[in-house]
């Protein structure tokens, strides 16, 4: 079991990184990878929400949708609503309990609703028949993978501020190509752990 959990986490951080290999969470990956501070803040906020979502998705799937046979047609709608309200809830709770924390990553929370990494992870849970612990591992792994990709990209982009990048490539283009190279590098991890 512990091994499997390890595999799930390593798998979603390195081998099949959610951003660089599964193509989830591209918008924030492009949008908030400009500065390392914001990138890490966004990454942590997303990791938190992802873990919460994994739990919620697990319970929703196994105790509401599946037993009542609603899964095939209410899954999407219920997941997205749960994510949206969860994000809202987290925002309120964080604001209430720690304004400092809210200032640190509260601004990212509204962006997370439409981050498809959250929805993607939620959908993967029933698809892979994960139990609760594995679901949490997946959420955590996805979040860490997202944070890692974001942090690496932000470091490179901060350095690129000083570089004479061809004008046409400035902005998203160079980020895409760099992401491609990163993704290429991450392919070195293939086969590191059994997947699936």
């Amino acid at each position: 079991m512990a091994k499997e959990l390890f595999f799930i986490i390593v798998g979603s951080v390195f081998v099949n990184n959610f951003v660089l290999s599964r193509f989830l969470g591209q918008c924030p990956f492009l949008g908030v990878s400009g500065k390392t501070e914001t990138a890490v803040g966004m990454g942590m906020a997303t990791t938190f929400v992802l873990t919460m979502t994994a739990v919620a998705a697990y319970f929703l799937q196994n105790y509401v949708l599946a037993p009542f046979g609603l899964e095939p047609f209410l899954q999407i709608v219920s997941f997205i609503l749960v994510i949206a309200s969860l994000v809202q809830l987290v925002e309120m709770v964080v604001l209430k309990i720690s304004p400092a924390l809210y200032n640190a990553f509260g601004i990212f929370l509204p962006l997370i609703t439409t981050n498809c990494i959250v929805m993607g992870a939620a959908l993967l849970i029933p698809m892979n028949n994960y139990n609760l612990i594995k679901s949490i591992a997946l959420g955590l792994g996805a979040g860490i993978g997202f944070t890692l990709a974001l942090a690496l990209m932000s470091g490179i982009r901060e350095d690129l501020e000083f570089a004479d990048v061809p004008e046409a490539l400035r902005g998203p283009a160079i980020v895409f190509i760099t992401a491609g190279l990163l993704s290429m590098i991450f392919m070195g991890f293939t086969g590191l752990v059994p997947l699936g």
């Binding site: 350095d159 190509i177 290429m184 991890f189 293939t190």
Partner: protein
């Protein structure tokens, strides 16, 4: 008074006389050693591969700069070094056109799109190699035995797939299967030591890289000497992990870089899908370099501890 006009500049008014081209050509000279080994073992094909990739690299650089209306700086030798390094990382039997693709990718995607020398986040030669690796996997993993010219496996894949070890003298001298320039550990070490002696390579990276590989391999119960001498580790540790542009600035950062590269190399070699992980690990640490730089800002003279 008017017959001459004095020159004013900001101090200092002396310079060591060091220049980028001098550094690059020194590296190129050091690279000649493993190149000779490659030519010795793999013959004319090795020589022609080196020449073709170097030419392709230099030409790509010139064309790219021409298109951007920037001064053409191929004379600084950096594209030449990239081309040579790439060639040394290729299997001797690779079709020429693939080698050219590798060189073009190395210079364009690996370097010029970031604005050229000094701005590239990743080692261009390795980008070229890894690109070829995932694009033309089969030709990139078809190795030639130096002695009989037959296809065979590298010492590392022999080890990984069949658990067969290769003896040290073979590895040291270079008459084993592998990339053009990676087989002779001895010549690579000599070239590397030359660069360290000249001060163009910081010893901390090779030391921490090789040291950590040996240590982790030993922990995992495999033969550290075999792992040090086989595969592209020596070439990587002395010539690619030490690429100034893509490695951290501070000594401490360099040590972290070396250890990180070592850990990932061992991980991929021992557990991963690929038999060799040097290129991937160095590139991965390249990606980490900006973050390492950020968190290893040296403590300055007289920095007061937090009050």
């Amino acid at each position: 008074m008017d017959e001459y006009r004095l020159i004013t500049t900001s101090s200092p008014h002396l310079h060591s006389g060091e220049s980028i081209s001098r550094i690059m050509f020194s590296v190129a000279i050091a690279l000649l050693l493993p190149t000779f080994a490659g030519i010795y073992f793999f013959g004319f094909r090795a020589l022609s591969l080196v020449i073709i990739t170097s030419l392709a690299a230099v030409l790509t650089e010139a064309i790219f700069q021409k298109l951007r209306n920037k001064p053409i700086t191929i004379a600084d030798g950096s594209a030449l070094v990239t081309g040579m390094l790439l060639a040394l990382n290729l299997p001797p039997g690779l079709p020429y056109w693939m080698a050219v693709v590798g060189a073009v990718v190395a210079i364009s995607l690996g370097k010029q799109i970031y604005g050229g020398l000094g701005a590239n986040p990743f080692n261009p030669a390795l980008i070229g190699r890894v690109f070829l690796m995932i694009t033309f996997t089969t030709p990139m993993t078809t190795w030639i035995n130096p002695i009989d010219g037959m296809t065979g496996a590298t010492p590392l894949s022999l080890m990984k797939m069949e658990g067969i070890s290769t003896d040290y003298t073979k590895l040291l001298l270079g008459n084993s299967g592998g990339s053009l320039g990676e087989t002779s550990a001895l010549l690579i070490i000599i070239g590397g030591l030359y660069l360290i002696y000249k001060g163009y390579v910081d010893w901390t990276i090779p030391a921490s890289y090789l040291g950590s590989v040996a240590l982790f391999v030993a922990i995992l119960g495999q033969d550290p000497v075999f792992h040090l001498l086989s595969g592209g580790l020596m070439l990587g540790a002395f010539f690619m992990a030490t690429d100034m542009v893509t490695t951290p600035l501070s000594k401490f950062g360099k040590v972290i870089f070396g250890i990180g590269a070592g850990v990932f190399t061992v991980l991929i070699r021992v557990y991963g899908g690929y038999p060799e992980g040097v290129s991937f690990s160095i590139l991965l640490m390249n990606a980490f370099t900006p973050l390492i730089n950020r968190f290893t800002v040296p403590k300055i003279y007289g920095e007061v501890k937090a009050r």
